[in-house]
């Protein structure tokens, strides 16, 4: 199932003029990434580091020094200013049509969610206070953030996530066949060829694009997905119904699962690790190990910042932490995730890190997997 080129009634009707603006923002992002950002490390070497040395009488050494040295470069400062501006324009370019068409989209979502022919389910938890460390931030500057919930039928958080995410990803060079779930299908085929999941849990599912893709890929499987915000989940559920795939969406914290032990064959997350604190990450890993069945797989996929070849590249990639509302971006990028998985209870021999090719472009994805020992295996 495609995840970025699907049509369904919860997407806003967009005028030709609005599409022009969105195309302009995608195009600007492509140019910025390919022709401006790509020179940032050179700017550090040629402008930033010498200016830092002149000011401080020493070469930049620590990550803090390196970050300061980047900002000594006028070219880097201009890139940073433009990148922030364009990121803000993503949300305005998709927000206009969403807010204009909001009532229709919301009615369409409600109709799908309440249809007698619905295939999946939505389980909201009114007692749950969406994780403040995520809910209080406009992650990647998305207005209102992941847990935005303006009314009992609101779906705006999901609409923002899907439409803004498409603009962002196309600007990163992703094609219309881009699919993070597809990366995991490829990993399962290559590294776990005999593994066919029948109960799947998608942690931090946001607008449910991957959740729906799992349901389509494994039509016999019982697919569950969770996230923190009701608005996001209403959208994800309605989207899955519109695409004709059964998924049960839960409002739940990945660090505090309400499923019994050994409930799932496969537990996945897509781009969740970089959105949560170290403490929540460690809890989520332990919870995943608890609810996956013996012999089952836990797989976390995330951004490729961890593959940075040097401290300078790593600091360059950490821009999102201070400028893009990605407050745990750096925490994720510099974490020892194998140690975290081990501390969560996975045996070192069952943990593997993977540098995965994206489905539709030259980007890479970081993946870490852990297998729970089958009954009878030595732990």
């Amino acid at each position: 199932m495609k995840v970025r080129d699907v049509q369904h009634p919860m997407l806003p009707e967009t005028t030709a003029e609005e599409q022009s603006r969105q195309r302009a923002v995608v195009s600007l992002r492509k140019i910025l990434n390919a022709r401006v950002r790509s020179a940032n490390v050179r700017r550090f070497e040629e402008e930033g580091a010498p200016a830092f040395a002149a000011r401080h009488g020493r070469q930049p050494q620590s990550p803090e020094d390196i970050e300061q040295a980047f900002f000594e470069s006028p070219g880097y400062r201009m890139w940073s200013a433009v990148n922030r501006s364009v990121q803000e324009m993503i949300w305005l370019s998709v927000g206009e049509p969403i807010f204009r068409d909001r009532a229709r989209m919301q009615a369409a979502a409600s109709a799908l969610a309440e249809s007698p022919a619905r295939l999946g389910a939505l389980k909201l938890d009114p007692a749950y206070d969406p994780s403040p460390e995520i809910a209080s931030v406009d992650v990647h500057l998305q207005p209102g953030g992941y847990a935005r919930d303006d009314s009992s039928e609101d779906i705006v958080a999901g609409a923002f996530y899907e439409t803004g995410g498409n603009i962002y990803s196309f600007g990163q060079g992703a094609g219309k066949s881009d699919s993070k779930a597809g990366v995991i299908f490829n990993l399962l085929r290559s590294d776990f060829p005999d593994f066919t999941p029948t109960r799947i849990l998608d942690l931090g599912c946001s607008a449910g694009a991957a959740s729906a893709a799992y349901a389509a890929e494994y039509p016999e499987a019982d697919v569950h997905a969770l996230d923190i915000g009701a608005g996001m989940l209403r959208y994800a559920h309605a989207r899955a119904e519109a695409l004709g795939v059964p998924v049960t969406f839960h409002q739940m914290d990945a660090a505090q699962l309400k499923f019994p032990d050994d409930s799932f064959d496969l537990i996945v997350s897509h781009n969740m690790l970089h959105e949560i604190s170290a403490e929540k990450r460690r809890q989520a890993m332990a919870e995943a190990l608890r609810v996956v069945r013996p012999g089952g797989l836990v797989i976390f996929q995330d951004v490729d910042t961890r593959f940075a070849p040097s401290d300078v590249h790593r600091v360059e990639k950490n821009w999102d932490t201070a400028f893009n509302g990605e407050i745990f971006w750096k925490t994720y990028g510099e974490a020892d995730l194998v140690a975290d998985m081990t501390a969560a209870g996975f045996a070192p021999a069952d943990i593997a890190e993977h540098n995965m090719e994206a489905v539709s472009n030259i980007n890479r994805w970081y993946v870490i997997s852990g297998r729970k020992p089958a009954l009878g295996d030595a732990a």
Binding site: E17, V25, E88, L92, D138
Partner: protein, 109 residues
Amino acid sequence: MTASADTIAAVIESGRGTRPYSLRNQEAEQVLNIALALMVELAASNDRIDRLERLLAETRGEPLDDLRNVLPDGDAAAERQAALEAMQMRVMRVLIDPREAVDGHPDAR
């Protein structure tokens, strides 16, 4: 169709958090933001012109390139030249009329 200003305001006002600046001059960065937003608006306007040209060419049954390559001559050419110079005078005003720079802050007057 352009969304109403109120719709745009609602989108803008629903964002939260600070705005970290990168340039050493905050005013300059705001002007940069305005310039980038105008680039997006220009792209939208260019797309509108393109749609009109295509529609006109189709309506008149003539090749699009022919329509796009109609060059003004005579009075029309002179009118375009005058309009071009007037537009550039407006845009280049601050350079054409630089004035002596003085600090306008109250404590500097």
